[in-house]
């Protein structure tokens, strides 16, 4: 069964009386374990699309299924639960809570999942280790005491802490230098190796070359799709702290 299915999904905004289509009539299926990149020019609707996939936004028309569950049938409560359990989000600007320790940022989804406090800490520390951060050294740092690359890794740890099947990332390397970009891509690839489905939104061709499947977006529509038989493999050359 597909982990993600969109059927004739549209999203439009009412501007000056005329509807403006940010996403127009998109149908798409993502199978478990896939690594997908969505590319396209600025304003083409990539972010909107990702929000629809992650149930952050409600389509104006069409249907979204996550892991076989039809989203339009769900209450606010059930949607929140599905986001919490099935989807992990990574954003371009990290979106970490300021003045809050790294491990507490990571533990946030667990809090909403109703996990006991002691277990929250232990699992948050585990997730930090998984993304290559030493929990003892960096777990108690506040976001402003971490580099951009480290902050994004904390954000990824937060996205995977509930062990979701689907990871959605919107320009995750947009604010990072080339070395950090490499590290983050390597991390996504190794998570994908473990079976996590990854969808990355990016406008950088170099980043898209790391995905097996690349979907091209323009004016809210899918205008092309190709399979990369030999995706680039990001190297975890040096382990940065």
């Amino acid at each position: 069964m597909a982990i993600l299915r969109l059927e004739r999904v549209s999203k439009w905004y009412e501007t000056a009386g005329e509807p403006f289509y940010a996403v127009r009539d998109v149908s798409l299926t993502v199978e478990p374990g896939e690594f997908v990149a969505i590319t396209g020019p600025s304003g083409s609707g990539k972010s909107t699309m990702m929000h629809l996939m992650g149930l952050l936004d409600v389509p104006s028309s069409g249907e979204v299924w996550i892991d076989g569950v039809q989203a339009s049938h769900l209450s606010d409560r059930e949607l929140a639960r599905l986001r919490n359990q099935k989807v992990g989000f990574v954003f371009q600007s990290f979106h970490l809570l300021p003045r809050t320790a790294a491990w507490e940022n990571v533990a946030l989804p667990l809090m909403y999942a109703g996990v006991r406090a002691a277990e929250q800490r232990q699992r948050a520390m585990e997730a930090l280790r998984r993304v290559g951060l030493d929990p003892e050294a960096k777990g108690y740092h506040h976001p402003n005491q971490l580099s951009g690359g480290q902050q994004q890794r904390v954000a990824i740890a937060r996205a995977i802490v509930t062990r979701p099947a689907l990871l959605l990332a919107d320009e995750p390397t947009g604010n990072l230098d080339s070395r950090s970009t490499e590290e983050i891509l390597a991390l996504f690839q190794s998570l994908n190796d473990e079976g996590v489905t990854v969808v990355i939104v990016t406008h950088e061709p170099y980043v898209a070359q790391h995905a097996r499947r690349v979907i091209r977006f323009a004016d809210g529509r899918i205008v092309g799709e190709e399979i990369n038989e030999h995706p680039l493999r990001a190297e975890l050359a040096e382990v940065a702290r």
């Binding site: 952050l56 929140a80 639960r81 809570l97 003045r99 809090m111 909403y112």
Partner: protein
């Protein structure tokens, strides 16, 4: 999502904005502080006034002239000259009356050496000292012989004594009152409470009437019943006797007023109750203003933290979880503000007590009522901002810069 964690989150958000938190708390602190201080001081004042009135003596009846109506125009209470010395004699015959003291007052100029002092001059019979429970700290009261002979002797109150003689013992000294020499034979013990009761000289009634007022009508008659049990009977007898004395026929209203301690107390209670609810109203308004302050700041906080709210929703927070988070924050403002307010109110009431010399005790009812109201105000005024926060759409919140 546990309460402890949410409370921690709320406390952290306070710590991140100390000034804003303080300003939000201030409204609640002032409101609660005002309630606690005003109620405590109000209670203490009522208690001390009650005590003073009870100090008048439980057996005391006070008879004053009623109001005269001339051509349909009321002249006000006490305007009549309706009480006479023969009324006094008649009242003395009553079996349930133990003592009767007619009383008159005037203002007079007391001269001693270079000192010139304006005070109240009160004239009465020796019975006054029994009827009014007047204790002497030095010397003696005047006696029946001095009263009959209109002797120029006086008993002085502590305030008057201090103002005229300073710290010197007034007993045995001679003063000039309106140009007539008087010997001070005794000093009253302090009456406590207002200084009005201590700022006077008491002379025999006959002396006052002959040398100062020229009128033989007492302005007040103090009557002491034989016992507290017979107060009611005594009051009825006094009323009937005076009606007969004044030749009032059936259906005519009294031309005098009889007051007893119970009526004074109930009047006082009415006044303090009105005062308390007035003060309570003011305190309530300040709590309301505090609540509006909470709402205002919480709305700002929701706007400022739009991104945080969106993120929490993306990570799986339900509307209920966001609602709870903000409600707990505003409830905590009420709770913390309430506790600090109670402390301030208590300190304020204690300082008031020290300055005025009243025994102020913390009004426990006011404390917990103010506390509960503060928390409720926090929660109630937090509802609207919390609902706003919980309704934010996650993407609107995440796109917000």
């Amino acid at each position: 999502m546990n309460l402890l964690k949410t409370t921690q989150t709320a406390l952290r958000s306070f710590a991140q904005n100390p000034l804003r938190t303080f300003l939000t708390l201030l409204g609640v602190i002032i409101g609660v502080g005002a309630v606690v201080a005003l109620m405590s001081v109000g209670n203490a004042t009522t208690a001390s006034v009650t005590q003073r009135i009870e100090g008048l003596g439980t057996n005391l009846l006070v008879v004053t002239p009623g109001q005269v109506t001339q051509g349909g125009i009321s002249q006000g209470l006490g305007s009549a000259q309706s009480l006479t010395m023969s009324d006094v004699t008649a009242l003395q015959q009553l079996s349930d009356v133990s003592a009767v003291a007619p009383d008159q007052t005037t203002r007079a100029q007391v001269v001693y050496g270079d000192t010139n002092y304006q005070t109240t001059l009160e004239g009465s019979t020796p019975d006054l000292f029994d009827v009014r429970n007047l204790e002497l700290s030095a010397g003696r009261p005047f006696n029946l012989v001095e009263e009959q002979n209109a002797a120029n002797v006086a008993v002085i109150g502590t305030t008057a004594a201090e103002n005229i003689f300073g710290n010197a013992n007034p007993v045995g000294r001679t003063v000039w009152i309106n140009g007539i020499s008087f010997q001070i034979i005794g000093e009253l013990a302090s009456q406590g409470g207002t200084t009005v009761n201590d700022d006077r000289l008491i002379v025999p009634l006959s002396t006052l009437q002959r040398r100062f007022t020229g009128s033989s009508n007492p302005s007040t008659i103090y009557v002491s019943a034989v016992s507290a049990d017979q107060m009611q009977q005594a009051q009825t007898d006094v009323e009937l006797t005076l009606r007969r004395q004044h030749g009032l026929s059936f259906g005519e209203s009294d031309d005098f007023v009889i007051t007893n301690q119970a009526t004074i107390l109930s009047t006082l209670q009415g006044v303090t109750q009105a005062l308390q609810s007035f003060l309570g109203g003011i305190a309530g308004i300040s709590l309301l203003v505090g609540g509006i302050g909470i709402m205002n700041i919480m709305l700002v906080s929701v706007t400022e933290r739009t991104r945080e709210i969106g993120l929490r929703k993306a990570l799986g927070a339900t509307r209920g979880a966001i609602l709870r988070q903000f409600l707990i924050e505003s409830g905590l403002v009420g709770l913390i503000g309430g506790v600090i307010g109670i402390l301030f109110g208590w300190v304020g009431a204690t300082i008031y007590g020290r300055v005025t010399g009243t025994a102020v005790t913390l009004n426990v009812d006011a404390v917990w009522i103010a506390f509960v109201v503060a928390v409720v105000v926090g929660l109630v005024f937090g509802i609207y901002p919390a609902v706003r926060a919980s309704r934010l759409s996650p993407i609107h919140a995440l796109r917000y810069e």
